[in-house]
């Protein structure tokens, strides 16, 4: 850590650690611009390739919500790998742990940073859907969409950080991430897609029908934020 970071190190409190780690992760992203230069283009390419594969404006408009969240999920895999590659390159995570830094703080910090990046990603994907797939957004729909985006990305960030921590590290583990992560995030995919359908008004679904799905997303986010914070330390202790 830089000397500036050491000066501000507020001991071993969870919140202090979380703030530092989140700031560090976001700073790394700002400097390296991996999200901007690599992940966002990847997400856009995926959206374009869906159009090639599905080959029908009517179908695209109908499945736009699903495509947005599929692209988001695939991008999450990349972003989670990236989030931990930053740590394992110099064995930074191990050093942090042996220095007595609370695992819960590391988890919350990385989760917050990941969530911030995911929010940027999902915003872009929704814009892409409006442009490429002719999705339509009303004001009421926008409120629903923003809430959905925040809740869903929170859940994704939580499970991503948790399983990402496990899948990071030794060679041959990275391929474990999709296998572990994708089944777990099924509720997010289902809930976010249905809520987004309501927001876009796809297939005549009204905005009001989307809010129950938000409940599912919220339960998921809370459940895995808490479990993740608790399980992160034991899972990563080697």
């Amino acid at each position: 850590m830089s000397s500036a970071g050491q000066e501000r190190f507020t001991g071993t409190t969870v919140i202090g650690t979380a703030r530092l780690i989140a700031a560090k992760d976001l700073r790394v992203e700002l400097r390296s611009r991996v999200l901007l230069n690599q992940v966002l283009p990847f997400a856009l390419i995926v959206m374009v390739m869906f159009a090639f594969a599905l080959d029908s404006d009517a179908v695209l408009e109908r499945v736009a919500p699903g495509l947005v969240w599929l692209a988001a999920l695939f991008s999450t895999l990349i972003m989670v790998s990236r989030s931990f590659a930053v740590e394992t390159a110099d064995g930074a995570l191990d050093q942090l742990r042996s220095a007595g830094v609370p695992a819960m703080g590391i988890f919350i910090g990385k989760m917050m940073a990941l969530m911030a990046q995911l929010v940027v990603l999902v915003t872009l994907l929704v814009l892409a859907a409006v442009v490429l797939y002719r999705a339509e957004l009303s004001w009421a729909g926008s409120v629903l969409l923003v809430t959905t985006g925040l809740t869903a990305t929170c859940g994704l960030a939580a499970v991503g950080t948790l399983y990402g921590g496990l899948a990071a590290g030794a060679k041959g583990r990275e391929t474990l991430l999709p296998l572990l992560l994708l089944p777990v995030v099924a509720p997010v995919l289902i809930g976010a897609t249905r809520a987004t359908e309501s927001a876009f008004g796809t297939r005549g679904v009204s905005t009001g029908q989307g809010w129950p799905w938000l409940g599912l997303l919220a339960v998921f986010a809370v459940l895995f934020s808490v479990s993740g914070a608790v399980a992160f330390g034991p899972l990563l202790d080697d």
Binding site: L162, L166, A170, R173, L176, L179, L180, P183, V184, A186, P187, I190, G191, R194, W213, L216, V219, F220, L223, F224, S227, A231, P234, L235, D237, D238
Partner: protein, 244 residues
């Protein structure tokens, strides 16, 4: 010959005897003795292979979860629990694959398709993939203690996520207003002998499960011991080299 006692004990030999008997009886009852169904005809016989297999798969999952919790709880921590969890998962994943296979064959006959997206099937498919992930985590290497800790946490996370996945799918499919709950056993009139055969199958498979897990748990123990011995031997060799 000491090899005869490899992974067997008098207890498992007794279990094994009943397993052989039970399986043979189940096949006879299932294929020859039990009656055909009024609605499904002969194809109902698939049930006697499918349902006990599904039962075993779910039982194995529960066993893995319980053993994982037992390992994590300090008062009952013992690597035996980890081995039981692993053995259960190995057996469970196999039977879950067979359940999905036999179920889709049955579905082909009763519904005309190999697959439907109803909550029970979808959750079972998810359970299967989750199992595979669990086994992959067990294979990450390291000491037995490391493996035990990692996989027991993963198992408990799975206990959390499977009901959530199931609930999501139930909500999702209820949107499509299925009037009838599509399940192969939905329209079977349970004749007394049919019910007996089914329960006998479930019981027999439970005994089979106990036999399999006992043996496989001991196999894992021997594999772990082998690894430790190999490590010790390598260290001793190295020390000899250094001292020579």
């Amino acid at each position: 010959m000491s090899n005869d006692r490899a992974t067997s004990t008098p207890f498992t030999k007794g279990l094994g005897f009943f397993v052989v008997l039970g399986i043979a009886l189940l096949i006879i009852l299932g294929i020859f003795v039990s009656p055909a169904d009024v609605n499904q005809g002969e194809s109902v016989r698939i049930m006697y292979a499918h349902v006990p297999g599904a039962w075993l798969a779910y039982l194995a999952f529960v066993m893995t979860a319980v053993s994982s919790a037992a390992y994590l709880w300090k008062r009952t921590r013992s690597l035996t629990w980890d081995r039981i969890a692993g053995a259960s998962a190995e057996v469970g994943v196999l039977f879950m694959a067979m359940t999905l296979l036999s179920g889709s064959l049955w579905g082909r006959i009763t519904w005309g398709t190999f697959w439907v997206w109803d909550p029970r099937l979808t959750t079972t498919a998810f359970l299967f993939v989750t199992y595979l992930g669990y086994l992959a985590v067990r294979g990450l290497g390291g000491t037995a203690e490391q493996r035990a800790r990692r996989s027991s946490v993963i198992a408990l996370l799975a206990v959390l996520e499977i009901p959530l996945v199931h609930f999501s799918v139930v909500l999702w499919r209820s949107l499509h207003q299925r009037a009838t709950v599509l399940s192969p056993d939905g329209d079977i009139k349970m004749d007394g002998l049919m019910l007996f055969t089914l329960l006998f199958g479930v019981f027999g498979f439970t005994v089979l499960f106990a036999w399999l897990v006992s043996h496989r748990q001991r196999i894992i123990a021997m594999q772990d011991a082998q690894q430790i011995n190999a490590l010790d031997a390598a260290v001793t060799e190295r020390l000899k080299e250094v001292q020579a």
